[in-house]
């Protein structure tokens, strides 16, 4: 009978497997239907693995292959950062995932190869500036390049670590990007922006997916009343990229060095400090810009809503937070993947305040939050005050508390 058939195509449970990926995100979202399962892999990367876990991403890939029984239905790559997509580019781990034959690969519009980088128009300009930035970080922090910066460590070892950490996260990740594109070609590729309908009911029956971010350049301008993102974010970065693209550029390779004077050393130390600060400022802005290309997806099925915002920071969120209809949906969120590893402005106050299901331990249907971090690997995340809020007002699943386990499953009855 028709009614019965419909029920069979409605998921009854969602199981979110949070992997301990080191400093990085990897979630396997499984929808359980009466007769079958559908698997969605959301991000697969890290910048740092825990000590002695060099093959971690391969182990995770094997675990995913085992759990899915050899078939992935969808891959979501929220944005281009290494801690979200590195695994796709690794020889062994990437191959394992590729062999799971995903039906669809979902990425933000900023990755869409059909928006030509060398064309005019705001979308192309945006893609172009992102590419410039990636090229710049590649030059500075790509394989073998980082040695050129080693002398800056003398200025401040701590700031230097921060610089290389953020820098490495922002390199092009060419192999991963190509692998995602190849998988998208084999199946189907979706490049989406805020409010763009994502029709994959055939693949995930009974599940609605709302795209809340990233906004396009025009959508962003409408909300912020800024003439365009290019003016406020991308010009500075592009210019900085243009300047620092010259990393390692020696204007006088043949001129002899000075070895014997003492009175140049004080200033040399100060100049190293200035250089370090300047680079740090650039990579921090760049990091933020990349985070703001992050997909924000809201999965809805039955009465439950699961929110996966990648690393979206405030500027990306602004569009969604200004939309009344989206805000109504956000009020009902049951599972929240904490944005950007718990950083300062990735969980905007107004977003947190919007969640109806936050509350004390006795709160019925209390919010579940998923947080992935690695102790001591990032200087600004997670923010302590946010972790405290998450721990007291929601059921917190935190990778730092996995105690050696590779993953944790959160089961949600839909």
């Amino acid at each position: 009978m028709p009614a019965k058939r419909t029920n069979k195509r409605k998921p009854q449970k969602a199981i979110i497997r949070t992997y301990q990926a080191g400093f990085g995100d990897c979630f396997l979202l499984t929808f359980q239907y009466p007769d079958f399962e559908r698997h969605v892999l959301i991000d697969f990367g890290n910048t740092k693995s825990p000590e002695g876990e060099e093959k971690l991403l391969t182990r995770i890939a094997e675990s995913i292959a085992q759990r899915t029984g050899g078939k992935l239905h969808a891959i979501v790559a929220t944005h281009r950062h290494q801690d979200h997509i590195k695994g796709f580019g690794l020889k062994k781990a990437g191959k394992i995932i590729q062999d799971l034959n995903p039906d669809v690969v979902i990425q933000p519009w900023t990755e869409d190869p059909d928006i030509p980088i060398d064309a005019t128009g705001t979308l192309s300009a945006r893609r172009r500036s992102l590419a410039t930035m990636n090229a710049m970080t590649e030059k500075l922090f790509g394989e073998g390049e980082i040695d050129n910066l080693a002398h800056l460590k003398k200025a401040s070892p701590r700031r230097f670590d921060e610089l290389t950490f953020i820098g490495e996260d922002n390199i092009t990740n060419k192999k991963a990007v190509e692998m995602l594109m190849a998988m998208g070609k084999a199946g189907s590729a979706k490049y989406v922006h805020a409010k763009k309908p994502l029709r994959i009911k055939r693949i995930l029956p009974g599940v609605d997916i709302d795209v809340l971010g990233p906004p396009t350049v025009d959508q962003h301008s409408d909300v912020t009343r800024m003439t365009s993102w290019d003016e406020d974010e991308f010009w500075p970065l592009q210019a900085a990229a243009a300047g620092s693209g010259a990393a390692g550029l020696d204007p006088f390779p043949d001129a002899p060095d000075e070895k014997s004077t003492f009175d140049t050393r004080w200033l040399a130390g100060r100049l190293r400090g200035m250089r370090l600060e300047a680079l740090l400022q650039i990579v921090r802005s760049l990091d933020r810009v990349m985070n703001n290309t992050s997909l924000i997806l809201l999965f809805r099925s039955g009465r439950k809503s699961l929110l996966f915002p990648g690393d979206a920071q405030l500027e990306n969120w602004q569009f969604a937070l200004n939309d009344a209809a989206i805000m109504r949906k956000l009020a009902k969120v049951d599972v929240y993947k904490v944005g950007h590893h718990g950083s300062t402005n990735a969980t905007p106050q107004s977003l947190w305040a919007q969640f109806d299901k936050t509350g004390g331990k006795r709160k019925r249907g209390r919010l579940t939050s998923l947080l992935s971090t690695l102790e001591g690997k990032h200087h600004h995340v997670p923010r302590e005050s946010l972790v405290e809020k998450l721990a007291t007002k929601s059921n917190l699943v935190w990778t730092e508390e996995f105690e050696g386990a590779l993953f944790h499953d959160t089961v949600i009855d839909l």
Partner: protein, 593 residues
């Protein structure tokens, strides 16, 4: 015992603008600048400057010239090439090649920055009639200059590092070509002026009115542009071709025509060469902007212009540069009394350079007649007028008249409205001021003596008795007066500081800015500049108290830019220049579009 027999001054070759600007023979446009003839150590390192060729991108320190006299070798080679003295008979192509090799050498770069910064320092010291110190926390005497500090499209003054840092970057049009900010006259002089101004008015780095925030940028552009126009080589280029090599049409010397050739024309020429978009922000792009900014009496009070300090700086540069054009034209008109339609080219060029020189000196002298903090553009105009009147009571070439009109065209009126000439008036309660607490001579150097004078006269000088008060500086000044004799003055600065809560503002008669909570802590800053004449009598008292109405504007500005008081140091200028570079790039794109 022996005294030096060295001549006090020597001159050095520097680039008149940058390597992309050529003279009529197609050779890089160069000029000679006068610097103090000092004993140099490798660097060059002199009494006030130390050029350190360390590069933080490559982690290399380039070898400096080993001996003092080697600076002469580069300079003499240049001299030979430029003047064809010394028996060199080269073809133009050979000359071009030899010059380009010399200019491309890092030792010339160190000479260029040393020459330009030294001559700017000397210009300040001559105008002010005394030495100028750097504002370094260490009390050090030598400003460090890194001509190739890093690969970046940036250049800045960093007080905490006691340094000027100049970056270099690959040209967008040709990545193999490197653009050196240390070879741009405007950038080098602009950054040197930041350092000099900081030494003279240490409080101007504090956040206060938008005028004060913009003044550092605007004033540095003014000094850079007027210094460039002081060079006859550049003026020659600006005047354009004449009917004969030694003549120029009077039609080329009207204000309108000079504006087109000397401002717009030169700005375009500068832009054509050196990957302009990239360098625009560093060199300040001041020429283009002052040529583009049409006068408007609403400009000074226009909230759009007042929103950004680096934009608002332009509102100060344009009137000064327009006054320069006006004065140059007036001077040249006198060269053709019988209206032949032509004037002697050399004289017209000399007049332009003289006008630039005089205005530059006026602008620098004006600093002594500015309040130590909370300054406005209107204060600057009154200071300019006063500085010039003190030296030359008759305005024979109409400098002051041109400045008043030019500033008025942008909506800037003199701060002092009591006197018709716009100059500062005498102290308000002059007759109540009491002298005789310290000896006359002590008052010219001793901070304690000046403080005692201030304390005893706190009522006629309208100081707040409960504020923390201190003397910032006491500087003896000697200048050549109008009668050719030495004019001696003493310039002293004091500041007052008071920490209160916002709710207490009304007790002082200051309106609380909107958005400031009642219990917010507020720091009020006031102060004044005291100018004593040769007899030790107070001639001017320029400034505003801790409870003046300027405080409201200052508090609103702090609120608007969310800046805490006291923020200063490297980041301040690094960021400001960074944003400025962006703004110039944006503008360049808009213009193209």
């Amino acid at each position: 015992m022996k005294f030096t027999d060295r001549p006090a001054i020597r001159s050095l070759w520097v680039l008149a603008q940058d390597p992309s600007i050529f003279d009529r023979d197609g050779l890089p446009l160069m000029t000679r600048v006068d610097v103090v003839n000092e004993s140099l150590a490798p660097g060059p390192k002199g009494a006030r400057l130390h050029v350190v060729d360390y590069n933080a991108t490559t982690d290399r320190t380039l070898a400096a010239r080993k001996r003092n006299h080697e600076i002469d070798i580069v300079d003499e080679s240049l001299e030979r090439l430029k003047t064809e003295k010394g028996g060199l008979e080269l073809t133009k192509t050979e000359k071009r090649k030899a010059l380009s090799e010399l200019i491309g050498h890092p030792h010339f770069h160190t000479q260029n920055v040393y020459g330009l910064v030294s001559s700017t320092l000397r210009e300040f010291e001559r105008a002010l009639g005394r030495s100028v110190k750097w504002n370094f926390a260490s009390g050090g005497h030598q400003l460090k200059i890194a001509p190739h500090a890093f690969a970046d499209a940036n250049a800045f003054y960093s007080p905490s590092d006691e340094a000027l840092a100049f970056g270099y970057f690959p040209a967008a049009s040709n990545p193999k070509k490197i653009v050196f900010t240390c070879l741009s006259h405007d950038i080098v002089v602009h950054e040197a002026t930041h350092a000099l101004l900081d030494g003279l008015r240490s409080q101007y780095m504090r956040p206060s009115s938008i005028d004060q925030a913009a003044f550092h940028e605007g004033f540095s552009d003014i000094v850079a542009l007027l210094s460039a126009f002081k060079s006859e080589a550049l003026i020659d280029l600006a005047v354009g071709e004449g009917p004969a090599a030694n003549l120029v049409k009077t039609g080329n010397l009207t204000p309108q025509s000079l504006r087109e050739t000397a401002l717009t024309g030169l700005a375009e020429e500068f832009g054509a060469g050196l990957d302009h978009e990239q360098i625009a922000g560093q060199r300040g792009d001041a020429l283009r902007r002052s040529a583009d900014l049409a006068p408007g009496e609403d400009l000074y009070n226009d909230e759009n212009w007042r929103a950004e300090p680096h934009d608002f700086g332009e509102v100060l540069v344009a009137p000064v540069i327009n006054a320069f054009i006006e004065i140059w034209s007036r001077r040249s008109a006198k060269l053709d009394p019988v209206k032949t339609g032509y004037v002697d080219r050399a004289r017209a060029i000399e007049d332009g350079a003289k006008a630039a020189s005089h205005l530059l000196r006026m602008s620098i002298r004006a600093l002594d007649y500015l309040p130590p903090l909370n300054m406005t553009y209107r204060d600057f105009l009154s200071a300019l007028l006063t500085a010039d009147t003190e030296i030359e009571s008759a305005d024979s070439y109409g400098y002051r008249d041109a400045l008043i009109k030019s500033f008025a065209a942008y909506g800037i009126l003199p701060a002092s409205r009591v006197k018709k000439d716009g100059c500062w008036e005498k102290p308000k309660y002059e007759d109540d001021i009491v002298y005789g607490f310290s000896r006359h001579s002590e008052m010219s150097y001793d901070r304690e003596s000046v403080f005692r004078f201030l304390w005893e006269n706190r009522t006629p000088l309208e100081l707040h008795e409960q504020a923390y008060t201190k003397i910032i500086s006491v500087r003896p000044v000697s200048r050549e007066g109008p009668d050719g004799r030495l004019l001696r003055e003493t310039v002293a600065e004091y500041m007052q500081l008071m920490d209160i809560n916002a709710s207490e503002l009304k007790l002082l008669g200051i309106a609380k800015p909107r958005g400031l909570s009642r219990d917010a802590p507020v720091r009020l800053l006031g102060g004044g500049t005291l100018v004593f004449n040769d007899y030790g009598m107070l001639k001017f008292h320029i400034g505003s108290g801790v409870a003046s109405k300027k405080q409201k504007a200052r508090l609103e500005m702090l609120e608007k830019f969310s800046e805490g008081d006291g923020e200063r140091g490297a980041r301040h200028f690094v960021n400001r220049h960074f944003h400025r570079a962006m703004s110039a790039r944006r503008r360049a794109t808009e213009l193209k579009a």
